[in-house]
C-alpha cells in the first residue's frame, strides 16, 4: 500500500475556482453568449447586404445592413434575447401571407383593398402616395395596377373629344394579398451559431481562468 500525504499550506485554487464559478453566473455569461450570437447574426446580415442587392436595380435601401444595425440583445434573468427590429424580417424568415386591409389608404382614408407591389426601379422603396401622377389601371376584372398613362385626344365632331391611352407604364401592381415564401437563409445556420458559441465560450472560460490567476498575482499560462 502506498500512501500519499498532501498538505495544502495556502489554498490558491479555491479563489480561482470561485472566480471561475462567479464568471459562469447568468448575469456575466449570458451577455457574452448573446454577444456571440449577435455578432454572428450581424456578420450574416453583412454577407446578405453584399450578395443580395435589390433585383430592380433602383437605389438601394440597404435592407440587410439595416437588419444588422437593428440586431441587438438583452438579458432578462436566465434568458438572453437576440432580436432584430427590422420590419419584415420575421415574415421573410417564416414566410406567410400578407393581406391588404391592415393599413389605411392615403387616397380614400379607408382600410386598403389592395397591396401595391413595385414594378420598377423608380417605384421600389416607395409608396404609391409618393407619386402624384399615377392613375388606377383597369382591366376586365377590375383594377390591376397604378401607373402613368399617356393619352391622345381625338376630336369627334364639333363638341365631343375622346381620350385614348396610347402608352401605359405600370409602377405598381395591385393585389389583394401576396404569398411570401419562407427563407431560412435569412439567419445563420444553427451549426454555424453553435460553433461560434462553443468557440467563444472556450475563450471566455480561458479569460476567466487567466484573470483569476492574474488577480492572485500569478498569471496563468494560456
Amino acid at each position: 500500500m502506498i500512501a500519499i500525504e498532501l498538505t495544502i499550506t495556502q489554498d490558491e485554487v479555491s479563489p480561482a475556482l470561485r472566480e471561475l464559478s462567479d464568471g459562469l453566473d447568468d448575469d456575466r455569461l449570458l451577455p457574452v453568449l448573446a454577444g456571440t450570437v449577435n455578432n454572428s447574426m450581424r456578420g450574416h446580415f453583412d454577407e446578405l447586404e453584399d450578395t443580395r442587392p435589390n433585383k430592380m436595380g433602383g437605389s438601394r435601401r440597404h435592407y440587410y445592413s439595416g437588419a444588422r444595425a437593428k440586431t441587438t440583445f438583452t438579458v432578462s434573468g436566465n434568458t438572453a434575447f437576440i432580436f432584430t427590429t427590422q420590419v419584415g424580417m420575421r415574415m421573410r424568415y417564416f414566410g406567410g401571407t400578407i393581406r391588404a386591409g391592415a393599413g389605411i389608404s392615403s387616397a380614400t382614408g379607408k382600410p386598403t383593398k389592395y397591396l401595391t407591389i413595385p414594378e420598377t426601379a423608380e417605384s421600389y422603396g416607395h409608396r404609391a402616395a409618393d407619386f402624384d401622377d399615377l392613375e388606377v389601371l383597369w382591366g376586365r376584372d377590375g383594377p390591376y395596377g397604378l401607373g402613368r398613362v399617356e393619352r391622345k385626344t381625338i376630336q369627334r365632331g364639333d363638341s365631343f373629344t375622346q381620350s385614348n391611352a396610347i402608352q401605359t407604364e405600370v409602377l405598381f401592381w395591385l393585389v389583394p394579398e401576396v404569398e411570401i415564401p419562407e427563407d431560412h437563409t435569412m439567419l445563420p445556420e444553427s451549426g454555424e451559431l453553435n460553433d461560434a458559441l462553443h468557440k467563444d465560450f472556450g475563450k471566455y472560460v480561458n479569460r476567466l481562468w487567466y484573470q483569476a490567476g492574474y488577480r492572485m498575482g500569478a498569471p496563468v499560462e494560456n
Partner: protein, 265 residues
C-alpha cells in the same frame, strides 16, 4: 434555432429608453453648428439642421420611435412626413433625400447607442474590447475615412479590409471614436449618410494585432445620458456668439444658468 425567433417583437429597450428622454430641439443652426453642441444636448435632442418647426420635429420623433421599435418602415414614415411638410409649406423637407437623411440619421443614432450600451457590459467588453470601423454600405461618393482616421491619430492594422491603408481598429474606450464623429459621439453613425459601421474585435485578436496586452482589463464607460441632465453650453455660446439666442432656440426645454449650465426640464 427556433429559440432565436420570437412570435412577438421584443422592444429595443435601451434604444427606446434613449429616445424616451429625448426632447425636440428646433434649430436654425446648420450641420456644422449642430456638431458643436455639447454631447448631452445632441444625445437627448431630436433635431435636424435648419428645421425650426416643432410640429414637424415632433412627428419625426414619433416616426423614429415607431421605426426603432420595428413597428413601421421608412417608406411609410417618409410619406407621412412629406404630406406633413406639404401641409406646413416646408418645401425643403419634401424631398426623399432630405427625409431619408433625417430618418436614417435619427434611427441610426438610436441603433448605435443601443449597440454601444450592450458593448459596455463588463463581460462583453472584456471579450470584445476593440472594434473596427468598416464600410457596411456602399456609397457612390464615399468619404475618405482612412484620411479622417489618420488625421485623428488612428492606427491601421493588417488584414482583410476595403481600404489599402489597412483595417481601422481601436479600443472601444479610445477617444478616436468621438474624434472622427461629426456628432462628437463614440458610436455610429459617425457622419451623415456615411455607410460606415462598427464590428467587434475580440480580446485574442486585439492581442494578436498588438493593440492590448493579454492582461488588459477594460473599464466600462458611461455617457452623458447617465450623468444627469446637465450640459454646459457656455463654450458654444461663446464660440458662435449665440448667448441668449441659444436659450431662445432651446426654448422651454432647458433652463440656462448664468454659468452656461443647461438643465433639461
Amino acid at each position: 434555432m427556433s429559440g432565436l425567433i420570437y412570435p412577438h417583437p421584443v422592444d429595443f429597450r435601451q434604444a427606446l429608453e434613449t429616445r424616451s428622454v429625448r426632447a425636440i430641439l428646433p434649430t436654425g443652426m446648420d450641420s456644422q453648428m449642430l456638431r458643436q453642441l455639447p454631447r448631452a444636448v445632441r444625445e437627448r435632442a431630436v433635431f435636424s439642421a435648419g428645421v425650426q418647426n416643432t410640429d414637424f420635429l415632433t412627428r419625426v420623433g414619433e416616426a423614429v420611435d415607431r421605426m426603432t421599435a420595428g413597428q413601421t418602415n421608412i417608406a411609410t414614415e417618409r410619406t407621412m412626413l412629406r404630406q406633413l411638410a406639404e401641409s406646413l409649406e416646408l418645401p425643403a423637407l419634401q424631398t426623399d433625400a432630405r427625409l431619408n437623411l433625417i430618418l436614417d440619421t435619427q434611427t441610426g443614432m438610436a441603433d448605435g447607442y443601443g449597440a454601444w450600451i450592450e458593448g459596455q457590459h463588463p463581460s462583453v467588453l472584456d471579450m470584445w474590447p476593440a472594434q473596427e470601423l468598416y464600410r457596411a454600405e456602399e456609397r457612390k461618393e464615399p468619404r475618405d475615412w482612412p484620411q479622417r482616421w489618420y488625421a485623428a491619430g488612428g492606427k491601421f492594422y493588417p488584414g482583410e479590409s476595403d481600404y489599402t491603408d489597412g483595417r481601422m481598429i481601436a479600443l472601444k474606450d479610445d477617444d478616436i471614436w468621438t474624434d472622427i464623429s461629426a456628432f462628437g459621439l463614440p458610436y455610429a453613425p459617425f457622419d451623415y449618410n456615411s455607410g460606415m459601421d462598427l464590428r467587434d474585435i475580440d480580446h485574442d485578436e486585439a492581442v494578436k494585432l498588438g493593440i492590448i496586452e493579454d492582461d488588459y482589463l477594460p473599464v466600462p464607460q458611461k455617457l452623458g445620458l447617465n450623468d444627469g441632465l446637465e450640459a454646459s453650453i457656455g463654450p458654444l455660446a461663446a464660440k458662435f456668439g449665440l448667448g441668449f439666442a441659444l436659450g431662445d432656440i432651446l426654448g422651454h426645454l432647458v433652463r440656462i444658468a448664468t454659468g452656461g449650465e443647461a438643465t433639461f426640464q
